[in-house]
């Protein structure tokens, strides 16, 4: 299987998520090894996902957990679960 760049881009997510079937996987891998442009697109996308998974990127507001549990405690004290 021989792929051009545009096809490889379509499979970058599948490649990152380990979802490509063996034949496609091999074709994508071979292309990435020899194509600077596509391997850069792949690297950049992967870098974004690394950054996304970093806990510091999407943080909770300071005191969020305390306020949440405080409010829950008030509800739990005055209510029964599972009325619905």
């Amino acid at each position: 299987m021989k792929l051009d760049c545009k096809h490889v881009w379509e499979h970058i997510s599948g490649y990152l998520d380990h979802e490509l079937d063996p034949a496609l996987l091999e074709a994508v891998q071979r292309h990435l090894e020899s194509c600077e442009v596509c391997s850069a697109v792949f690297d950049s996308t992967r870098n974004i996902l690394v950054l996304t998974a970093d806990d510091r990127t999407f943080e909770l507001p300071v005191g969020y957990s305390e306020r949440l549990h405080e409010r829950l405690a008030a509800v739990i004290a005055s209510d029964e679960p599972g009325r619905g």
């Binding site: 545009k6 881009w9 379509e10 970058i12 997510s13 599948g14 990152l16 979802e19 600077e36 442009v37 391997s39 850069a40 697109v41 690297d43 950049s44 996308t45 870098n47 974004i48 996902l49 690394v50 950054l51 996304t52 998974a53 970093d54 510091r56 990127t57 999407f58 909770l60 507001p61 969020y64 957990s65 306020r67 949440l68 549990h69 409010r71 829950l72 405690a73 509800v75 739990i76 209510d79 029964e80 679960p81 599972g82 009325r83 619905g84």
Partner: protein, 209 residues
Amino acid sequence: MKLAVHDEAALLARILAGETELFHELIRPYEKLVYVTILAIVKNETEAEDGAQETMISAFRYLKSFRGEAKFSTWLVTIAMNEGRKRLRKAKAAAEDSIDESTAESEGDFTPAVLTDWREIPLEALEKKELRSKLREAVEQLPDKYREVFVLRDIEELNQEETAAALGMNVTLVKVRLHRARMMLQKTLVPYLKSEAPGRGGFIRRWFQ
């Protein structure tokens, strides 16, 4: 850290049997999931926090209706999505001339930004605070339907099936939208990640002529 499934089932049973205080422990692993899910919809931190509290309160009140066919996390996300959408509708109704950007968005072709410079980016560059804030902005600017999928899959790390269940769509659509979301982010963020690696412009230009 998510609880092992059997611990969660045991906790649920005990809460429903009357040990309601344990509800605090049940939801602790999902505090961030619920907040980020709503934030992705309403794009306002105060609204997201309020919505997250309401979501957890609803979950407590309707706990009996959770029968364990879905995962508890998926059930919570569904409540959070509804809460977020309700708040968004309210906000949009308040802003009379608002338009829904997602309706104008096609599911069409998307091309990533191509810069070979990317590979030179040292990991330290990814540590930069500024870059993290650029990523937050870029996610915020994604059209709604792409942002929802990206948040659940790549921020909250739900799997394809869980994401599909939470959003009420099929797995194929989840994959398509996730791919588009990632490519849009890639395109937006390339300029901020460009390194000083010289001399490759010519190669790229030749390639795309």
